[in-house]
Amino acid sequence: MKLQTASRLALLAVLELAGDPKRQRSAGEIADAYGISLNHLAKVLRDLSRAGLVEAVRGVGGGYRFCGNPKRTTLLDVIQLFETISAHAGEQTNTDEASAMEATLGLILKEIDDTVRATLQSITIDTAVKLSERSRAARDKPPNG
């Protein structure tokens, strides 16, 4: 599946900040780290701040820090601030046969959507950060040790 850009930026920002909640990072630092648009990221960070997931730290060396609950906030919570993950709605059809076909297609697409929702709402920020740390540790492990 493909997420909208804002959702993707929001997830990257939240996971980056939640990975070290005591440290603050500027929008510029995060944009540079991931090669993403600073303007777009800044807008996303403002939306995340309004949602209470990040807070701006003023003053010298200021930036953003994660202030949500990493064990209760899920990836779906973040994504839903920017887009809707919902079942295929289908369109009105004129004949019974077309209606049955549309209903069948709707069932198939609903299966996919239900799986997507279940996955995203079962992965907390804390879990995603830990998965990333494990992945990094495995990647950095020497070949024979």
């Binding site: 899920t74 239900d114 709402q121 079962s122 907390t124 830990k130 998965l131």
Partner: protein
């Protein structure tokens, strides 16, 4: 060795005297009373204990939770792997590491059994337990559960 201790919680193999507590915990969560089911299951698992594991988490003489699983081989074309069939923790003792202790203890036994993969299956809308398994590093595997009504 079948016991692991931390300061307050002990993980050990379930025995017949645990069946009432296990049935009560399961009944509290599912709303279904199945005392015979749990008593028989504990007994079956004790009879073939090598690759079947039924563990309880205990503190101060009270069962806080349980986990059960076994090594299965070649079903659905899968090489031997450890399956987690059930896990349950007292609601007011959750998010305190008990579930993690139970899961890790079962995985340790699976490693001793020589398998390198642990699997489970759960309802798609059971977000709580799915979140737990994901917090233990589990991700969706290469299999899909399919079903159909038999009319």
């Amino acid at each position: 060795m079948d016991t692991i201790s931390t300061e307050t919680v002990t993980i050990r193999t379930a025995n017949a005297t645990d069946s009432q507590a296990i049935a009560a915990l399961d009944g509290k969560i599912t709303g279904l009373a199945k005392p015979d089911y749990w008593r028989d299951l504990i007994e079956r698992y004790r009879q073939r204990a090598q690759k079947r594991h039924f563990l309880v988490a205990e503190s101060g003489g009270m069962v806080l939770g349980f986990i059960m699983g076994e090594v299965r081989a070649w079903e659905f074309g899968s090489p031997p792997c450890g399956w987690v069939f059930a896990i349950s923790v007292e609601p007011d003792r959750r998010v305190s590491g008990v579930g993690t202790m139970l899961f890790e203890a079962l995985c340790d036994r699976f490693r001793e059994n020589g398998v390198a993969t642990v699997r489970t299956m759960l309802a798609r809308d059971d977000t709580l337990i799915m979140s737990f398994f994901r917090s233990q590093g589990m991700m969706a595997g290469p299999y899909i559960e399919l079903e159909a009504a038999l009319d």
